[in-house]
Amino acid sequence: MTLLRVTGLRTEFRAGGAWHAAVDGIDFELRQGEILGLVGESGCGKSTVANSLMRLLPGTARIGGGTAQFGDDDLLALDEVRLRSLRGSAIGMIFQDPMTALDPVFRVGLQIEETLKQHLGLVPAAARQRAEELMRSVGIPAPAERLRAYPHQLSGGMRQRVALAIAICCNPRLLIADEPTTALDVTIQAQVLELIRTLLVAERGAGVLLITHDLGVVARVCDRVAVMYAGRIVETGAVTDVFGAPRHPYTRALLQAAPTGEVPRGQLPTIPGRVPVLAARPTGCSFRPRCAHAEAVCAVPGAADPIPLGPDREVACVRHAAL
C-alpha cells in the first residue's frame, strides 16, 4: 500500500535575485514496509527533498510546486498546526551528525520524554518508563542510567541510537533518515541500519526514506532505489534491478566509481566533471556535459523525462535503448 506519493516536487532557492530549482519536479512513491534509498552525489538535492517533505526549509528556499500525499494529507500544503502534529509522531526524522543532533544542555532522557509528552500526552512517570524501554529497544545498555547522561557523555553510535529512539518514540508510519550512518564507523553503521530495519520496517510496517550517498548501504538495506542527479530522479527500480542492470549512464558511472573489495589497489574510476551549479543547468538532460554517450538529442527539452521500463522501473534517458 502506498504510504507516500510525491509528484512534481519542486524546491527553489533564491540566489542573486532569482529562484533556482534545487529539486526540479521529482516523482516517487514509498510503500508501507519498504525502505526506499534516495542516492546521489553531494549537491544533487537529496537532503532538500527530505527537508521539503518535513517543510523545514531555510528562509532562502521555497516549495515551487508539487504534492506529497501522506495518508489523507498533502504534506506540502498542510497548515502549520497539523504539520506539527505529524512531525515527530507519524513522521520521524533522523539526521546525519549525531554529535550535534541532540541538545547539549539537556539530559538525553529529557529529550526523549519531551516528544512523548507532547505527542502522546504521557504523564512524566509514564514518559520516563517509555523512554527507558525505547533506550533498551535501540540497544543501549543500562538504559536507566543512560537516561541521565548528557549528549557529550555518549559516543557517536550511542547518540545516533538515542536520536533513533526519539524518531521512533511515537510509532511513526514514515521515517525520513538523512544520511543516518555517514558519520558512524562501519560496524556501528551496520547495527544502526539493522535497528531501522527490524524496529521500524519488520515490527511496525513503517516506510523508510533513506537518503545516502553510500551505494553499499543501499545494496544492504533498501528494497528500492531512486538515483538523483542535479535535482531530478534519473532512474528508479528495485535495488537488484537497478544495481544489476543499470540503464542510465549516470547510474552506471556511479556504480563503476563505487569501491568494491575485489578491485586491485590503484586509481578508482571517477565521473569526469562536476554537478552543474543551480543557475547554469544545461537544457535537456543535466548529465549531458559529463556523459560519454551524449548526442544532440540529449539537449532537447524533455530529453530527461522519465520513461517507464516496466512495473516499478523508470529511467530518464532518451538514449537508454541505444546504450
Partner: protein, 285 residues
C-alpha cells in the same frame, strides 16, 4: 561510566567553577547580605549627625571614621551599598526583561523582524551610554527608581545585541532543526532549545553591566544627577569626601573600596558563567 552519570557532589561542583568564580560569588553574596541587613549591621541612622565627633579617624566606635557632619562612614557605606546594589541588579533586570525576548526573536526569526528590532537598538547604541543617561536623568528627574529604569533602557540594546548574536549562531544547528522535526512550535524551540544554549554570553554581559551600573550610579550621584543627599550613595560619598581628601582620606577610600569590591565581584562571577551552564565544560573541570 555509571559512576560518571551520578550527580557530582557539591564540593566537586564548586571546584569545577574555579577559584575566581567562587570568590566572586562569595563577594557578591556578602555585599548583598551587607546591603540587605545594613540597619542591623550598623549603628543607627546613616543620616544621624554628631557634631562632637566630626572627621574622626577610624576607631573602635567608628571603624571607618566619621565625615564632616560626624556621620558614621561604615553605616553610610552599608546603606550606600543598598543604592549601588539596587542600581546594579535593577537596571540589569530591566535590560534583561526587555532585551532577552527581543534579541531572541530577532536572532531566531531573522528577516524583517530582525530589522524592525535592531535598527532602533542601533540608534540607541550609537549614543555614548553615560551621555544618554545624563540627558534622561536631567529630563525625568532624579530618584533611584528613575535612575534604574534609565540605566536599564540604555542597557537594553546591548543585551539585545548579545542575545541576537548568540541566537543567530544556533541558526541551522541540527538539534534546533531536530526539535522542529519532532513537532515543536517556534515558541517552544526558542524557549526550550535556543534560549538555554544561547544565554551564557548574555549572562556574562549582564554581570559586566552590573559592574558598570555601579560605576554609572556613582558617576551620576557624583555630579548630582543621581541619588539626592542626605540619602547615602557610594558615588555621592566620593563626591562629598573629595573636599576633605587631605585631612580625612577614609572618606573617599571607604566608598571607593566598596565600589571596587562590588565591580570586581560581578566581573569574577561573569567569568564562571559559561562553565556553569555548559554540561560538557562543567564535567571537564
Amino acid at each position: 561510566m555509571t559512576a560518571e552519570l551520578q550527580r557530582p557532589s557539591l564540593r566537586r561542583r564548586l571546584a569545577s567553577l574555579g577559584r575566581g568564580t567562587v570568590a566572586g560569588t562569595g563577594l557578591i553574596v556578602v555585599l548583598l547580605l551587607a546591603a540587605l541587613f545594613a540597619p542591623w549591621l550598623s549603628q543607627g541612622s546613616p543620616e544621624a549627625m554628631d557634631f562632637s565627633a566630626v572627621l574622626v579617624g577610624p576607631s573602635s566606635a567608628h571603624p571607618l571614621g566619621t565625615d564632616n557632619f560626624g556621620r558614621d562612614v561604615l553605616t553610610r557605606v552599608l546603606f550606600g551599598l543598598r543604592v549601588s546594589m539596587a542600581a546594579a541588579v535593577g537596571s540589569v533586570a530591566v535590560a534583561m526583561l526587555a532585551g532577552v525576548p527581543l534579541g531572541l526573536v530577532a536572532g531566531y526569526r531573522r528577516g524583517w523582524i530582525d530589522a524592525v528590532i535592531m535598527r532602533p537598538a542601533d540608534v540607541i547604541l550609537s549614543f555614548p551610554a553615560i551621555v544618554l543617561v545624563i540627558a534622561l536623568a536631567g529630563a525625568f528627574g532624579q530618584n533611584l527608581g528613575l535612575m534604574i529604569v534609565t540605566i536599564g533602557f540604555v542597557y537594553t540594546p546591548i543585551v539585545v545585541r548579545v542575545m541576537r548574536g548568540a541566537a543567530l549562531e544556533l541558526d541551522g544547528a541540527l538539534f534546533v532543526e531536530g526539535a522542529r522535526a519532532r513537532g515543536a512550535s517556534h515558541l517552544r524551540v526558542m524557549l526550550r532549545h535556543v534560549l538555554p544554549n544561547a544565554i551564557a554570553p548574555v549572562l556574562v554581559q549582564a554581570s559586566a553591566l552590573m559592574g558598570v551600573a555601579i560605576l554609572m550610579e556613582a558617576a551620576l550621584s557624583f555630579i548630582g544627577l543621581g541619588v539626592q543627599p542626605p540619602t547615602p550613595s557610594l558615588g555621592l560619598m566620593l563626591s562629598d569626601g573629595r573636599s576633605y581628601m587631605g585631612q580625612a582620606p577614609w572618606l573617599v577610600v571607604a566608598p571607593g573600596v566598596g565600589i571596587m569590591l562590588a565591580v570586581l565581584g560581578f566581573n569574577l562571577l561573569g567569568d564562571g558563567i559559561p562553565r556553569l551552564l555548559d554540561p560538557a565544560r562543567r564535567a571537564r573541570a
